[in-house]
Amino acid sequence: MASNPHGSDHWKAQRLTAISLFPLSLWFLGSLLIYSPSEYAAIVMWLKSPLSATGIVLLIGVLLYHAQLGIQVVIEDYIHRPTLTVSLVYSLKAVALSLFILACFCVLKIHFHPL
Protein backbone atom coordinates (compact mmCIF):
# COMPACT_ATOMS: atom_id res chain seq x y z
CA MET A 1 0.00 0.00 0.00
CA ALA A 2 1.43 3.33 -1.04
CA SER A 3 0.85 5.04 2.29
CA ASN A 4 4.00 7.07 1.92
CA PRO A 5 4.41 8.97 -1.34
CA HIS A 6 8.13 9.43 -0.67
CA GLY A 7 8.87 5.79 0.12
CA SER A 8 12.27 5.60 -1.52
CA ASP A 9 13.49 8.77 0.22
CA HIS A 10 12.35 7.31 3.53
CA TRP A 11 14.11 4.03 2.78
CA LYS A 12 17.32 5.79 1.79
CA ALA A 13 17.29 8.11 4.82
CA GLN A 14 16.68 5.18 7.17
CA ARG A 15 19.74 3.36 5.80
CA LEU A 16 22.01 6.41 5.66
CA THR A 17 21.19 7.37 9.26
CA ALA A 18 21.72 3.73 10.30
CA ILE A 19 25.19 3.70 8.76
CA SER A 20 26.08 7.07 10.32
CA LEU A 21 24.93 5.83 13.71
CA PHE A 22 27.52 3.03 13.74
CA PRO A 23 30.53 5.30 14.42
CA LEU A 24 28.54 7.95 16.30
CA SER A 25 26.86 5.65 18.82
CA LEU A 26 29.98 3.55 19.38
CA TRP A 27 31.98 6.75 19.99
CA PHE A 28 29.37 7.81 22.55
CA LEU A 29 29.27 4.46 24.37
CA GLY A 30 33.08 4.34 24.32
CA SER A 31 33.25 7.83 25.80
CA LEU A 32 30.90 6.82 28.63
CA LEU A 33 33.47 4.20 29.61
CA ILE A 34 36.13 6.92 29.96
CA TYR A 35 33.97 9.70 31.41
CA SER A 36 31.48 8.09 33.76
CA PRO A 37 28.04 9.61 33.07
CA SER A 38 27.49 10.22 36.80
CA GLU A 39 30.63 12.31 37.32
CA TYR A 40 29.47 15.83 36.82
CA ALA A 41 32.77 17.67 36.44
CA ALA A 42 34.28 15.09 34.08
CA ILE A 43 31.17 15.12 31.86
CA VAL A 44 31.12 18.93 31.70
CA MET A 45 34.80 19.05 30.75
CA TRP A 46 34.26 16.38 28.09
CA LEU A 47 31.20 18.08 26.56
CA LYS A 48 32.84 21.53 26.65
CA SER A 49 35.34 20.54 24.00
CA PRO A 50 34.12 21.64 20.53
CA LEU A 51 34.85 18.20 19.09
CA SER A 52 32.71 16.27 21.58
CA ALA A 53 30.02 18.98 21.41
CA THR A 54 29.90 18.48 17.62
CA GLY A 55 29.81 14.73 18.13
CA ILE A 56 26.94 14.81 20.61
CA VAL A 57 24.85 17.24 18.51
CA LEU A 58 25.42 15.05 15.44
CA LEU A 59 24.61 11.90 17.42
CA ILE A 60 21.36 13.26 18.83
CA GLY A 61 20.31 14.77 15.50
CA VAL A 62 20.87 11.56 13.53
CA LEU A 63 19.43 9.46 16.37
CA LEU A 64 16.21 11.51 16.44
CA TYR A 65 15.96 11.41 12.65
CA HIS A 66 16.45 7.64 12.58
CA ALA A 67 14.00 7.13 15.45
CA GLN A 68 11.40 9.35 13.80
CA LEU A 69 11.67 7.38 10.54
CA GLY A 70 11.31 4.10 12.42
CA ILE A 71 8.34 5.11 14.58
CA GLN A 72 6.67 6.56 11.47
CA VAL A 73 6.71 3.09 9.87
CA VAL A 74 5.26 1.56 13.04
CA ILE A 75 2.45 4.15 13.02
CA GLU A 76 1.74 3.56 9.32
CA ASP A 77 1.74 -0.20 9.84
CA TYR A 78 -0.65 -0.40 12.77
CA ILE A 79 -2.92 2.62 12.53
CA HIS A 80 -5.35 2.37 9.67
CA ARG A 81 -7.19 5.66 10.02
CA PRO A 82 -5.60 8.03 7.47
CA THR A 83 -6.31 11.30 9.31
CA LEU A 84 -5.03 9.94 12.59
CA THR A 85 -1.95 8.44 10.90
CA VAL A 86 -1.04 11.73 9.25
CA SER A 87 -1.58 13.73 12.46
CA LEU A 88 0.53 11.32 14.48
CA VAL A 89 3.35 11.37 11.93
CA TYR A 90 3.42 15.18 11.89
CA SER A 91 3.28 15.34 15.71
CA LEU A 92 6.14 12.87 15.81
CA LYS A 93 8.21 15.12 13.54
CA ALA A 94 7.41 18.13 15.71
CA VAL A 95 8.47 16.26 18.86
CA ALA A 96 11.72 15.10 17.23
CA LEU A 97 12.56 18.62 16.04
CA SER A 98 11.76 20.15 19.44
CA LEU A 99 13.91 17.59 21.24
CA PHE A 100 16.77 18.34 18.85
CA ILE A 101 16.53 22.08 19.55
CA LEU A 102 16.40 21.40 23.30
CA ALA A 103 19.51 19.20 23.05
CA CYS A 104 21.35 21.93 21.09
CA PHE A 105 20.60 24.52 23.75
CA CYS A 106 21.74 22.13 26.48
CA VAL A 107 25.05 21.54 24.69
CA LEU A 108 25.46 25.31 24.21
CA LYS A 109 24.78 25.94 27.89
CA ILE A 110 27.31 23.27 28.88
CA HIS A 111 29.82 24.85 26.49
CA PHE A 112 29.64 28.13 28.42
CA HIS A 113 29.55 26.40 31.81
CA PRO A 114 31.86 28.26 34.24
CA LEU A 115 33.53 25.02 35.37
Partner: protein
Protein backbone atom coordinates in the same frame (compact mmCIF):
# COMPACT_ATOMS: atom_id res chain seq x y z
CA UNK B 1 -10.49 2.82 0.46
CA UNK B 2 -13.49 0.45 0.58
CA UNK B 3 -13.80 -1.39 3.88
CA UNK B 4 -13.94 -5.09 3.09
CA UNK B 5 -14.91 -8.10 5.16
CA UNK B 6 -12.13 -10.23 3.76
CA UNK B 7 -9.61 -11.41 6.37
CA UNK B 8 -6.27 -9.63 6.51
CA UNK B 9 -3.31 -11.76 5.63
CA UNK B 10 -1.04 -12.91 7.16
CA UNK B 11 -2.53 -13.58 10.56
CA UNK B 12 0.45 -13.64 12.86
CA UNK B 13 -1.23 -15.77 15.53
CA UNK B 14 -1.44 -18.90 13.36
CA UNK B 15 2.30 -19.03 12.75
CA UNK B 16 4.66 -20.96 14.97
CA UNK B 17 7.33 -18.55 16.25
CA UNK B 18 10.57 -19.09 14.39
CA UNK B 19 14.00 -17.56 14.81
CA UNK B 20 13.47 -15.38 11.74
CA UNK B 21 10.12 -13.96 12.82
CA UNK B 22 11.14 -13.52 16.47
CA UNK B 23 14.31 -11.64 15.49
CA UNK B 24 12.30 -9.51 13.09
CA UNK B 25 9.75 -8.32 15.65
CA UNK B 26 12.54 -7.89 18.20
CA UNK B 27 14.19 -5.41 15.84
CA UNK B 28 11.07 -3.28 16.01
CA UNK B 29 10.66 -3.71 19.79
CA UNK B 30 14.30 -2.87 20.48
CA UNK B 31 14.03 0.16 18.20
CA UNK B 32 10.95 1.44 20.02
CA UNK B 33 12.60 0.79 23.39
CA UNK B 34 15.76 2.62 22.26
CA UNK B 35 13.63 5.72 21.64
CA UNK B 36 13.34 5.93 25.42
CA UNK B 37 17.13 5.81 25.50
CA UNK B 38 17.31 8.84 23.18
CA UNK B 39 14.93 10.63 25.55
CA UNK B 40 17.18 9.52 28.40
CA UNK B 41 20.31 10.95 26.77
CA UNK B 42 18.55 14.28 26.18
CA UNK B 43 17.28 14.33 29.78
CA UNK B 44 20.81 13.58 30.95
CA UNK B 45 22.18 16.48 28.84
CA UNK B 46 19.45 18.69 30.30
CA UNK B 47 20.57 17.58 33.74
CA UNK B 48 24.21 18.37 33.02
CA UNK B 49 23.22 21.80 31.68
CA UNK B 50 21.03 22.61 34.71
CA UNK B 51 23.15 21.01 37.39
CA UNK B 52 21.87 19.93 40.73
CA UNK B 53 18.19 18.90 40.64
CA UNK B 54 17.78 16.96 37.44
CA UNK B 55 21.30 15.55 37.28
CA UNK B 56 21.44 14.18 40.82
CA UNK B 57 17.95 12.73 40.41
CA UNK B 58 19.07 10.90 37.26
CA UNK B 59 22.22 9.57 38.95
CA UNK B 60 20.18 8.40 41.94
CA UNK B 61 17.71 6.67 39.62
CA UNK B 62 20.54 4.99 37.75
CA UNK B 63 21.89 3.52 40.96
CA UNK B 64 18.66 1.84 42.05
CA UNK B 65 18.03 -1.81 41.19
CA UNK B 66 15.34 -1.04 38.60
CA UNK B 67 17.47 1.77 37.21
CA UNK B 68 20.25 -0.71 36.59
CA UNK B 69 17.81 -3.19 35.04
CA UNK B 70 16.59 -0.44 32.72
CA UNK B 71 20.13 0.56 31.74
CA UNK B 72 21.14 -3.07 31.17
CA UNK B 73 18.11 -3.69 28.95
CA UNK B 74 18.93 -0.46 27.10
CA UNK B 75 22.49 -1.66 26.44
CA UNK B 76 21.13 -5.02 25.27
CA UNK B 77 18.55 -3.37 23.00
CA UNK B 78 21.31 -1.20 21.55
CA UNK B 79 23.67 -4.06 20.70
CA UNK B 80 20.80 -6.17 19.41
CA UNK B 81 19.55 -3.39 17.16
CA UNK B 82 23.13 -2.70 16.03
CA UNK B 83 23.87 -6.33 15.16
CA UNK B 84 20.52 -7.01 13.53
CA UNK B 85 20.70 -3.65 11.76
CA UNK B 86 23.96 -4.81 10.18
CA UNK B 87 22.09 -7.94 9.06
CA UNK B 88 19.42 -5.75 7.49
CA UNK B 89 22.04 -3.66 5.67
CA UNK B 90 23.58 -6.90 4.39
CA UNK B 91 20.18 -7.91 2.99
CA UNK B 92 19.76 -4.44 1.47
CA UNK B 93 23.06 -4.98 -0.32
CA UNK B 94 21.62 -8.24 -1.68
CA UNK B 95 23.50 -10.83 0.36
CA UNK B 96 22.52 -13.66 2.66
CA UNK B 97 18.98 -14.45 1.52
CA UNK B 98 19.20 -18.24 1.44
CA UNK B 99 17.64 -20.04 4.40
CA UNK B 100 20.89 -21.46 5.76
CA UNK B 101 22.65 -18.07 5.80
CA UNK B 102 19.57 -16.37 7.27
CA UNK B 103 19.61 -18.76 10.21
CA UNK B 104 23.37 -18.58 10.60
CA UNK B 105 23.42 -14.76 10.70
CA UNK B 106 20.37 -14.85 12.97
CA UNK B 107 22.12 -16.96 15.59
CA UNK B 108 25.20 -14.80 15.11
CA UNK B 109 23.09 -11.75 16.03
CA UNK B 110 21.77 -13.53 19.14
CA UNK B 111 25.28 -14.51 20.24
CA UNK B 112 26.98 -11.23 19.38
CA UNK B 113 24.35 -9.10 21.11
CA UNK B 114 24.69 -11.11 24.34
CA UNK B 115 28.48 -11.10 24.32
CA UNK B 116 28.77 -7.39 23.47
CA UNK B 117 26.19 -6.46 26.13
CA UNK B 118 27.97 -8.44 28.86
CA UNK B 119 31.36 -7.09 27.79
CA UNK B 120 30.13 -3.50 27.77
CA UNK B 121 28.29 -3.91 31.06
CA UNK B 122 31.39 -5.29 32.79
CA UNK B 123 33.56 -2.46 31.42
CA UNK B 124 30.87 0.10 32.31
CA UNK B 125 30.49 -1.09 35.90
CA UNK B 126 34.16 -1.85 36.41
CA UNK B 127 35.97 1.05 34.75
CA UNK B 128 34.56 3.94 36.75
CA UNK B 129 31.68 3.90 39.16
CA UNK B 130 29.28 3.09 36.36
CA UNK B 131 26.26 5.26 36.48
Amino acid sequence: MMPSKRPLSPHLQIYKPQLTSVLSIMHRFSGAFLCMGVGGIILWLYGVANEPKCFSWLVAMGQTFWGKVFLFLMVYAFFYHLANGLRHLMWDAGYGFDLKTTYRTGWLVVGASFVLTLLYWILFQGGNHGF
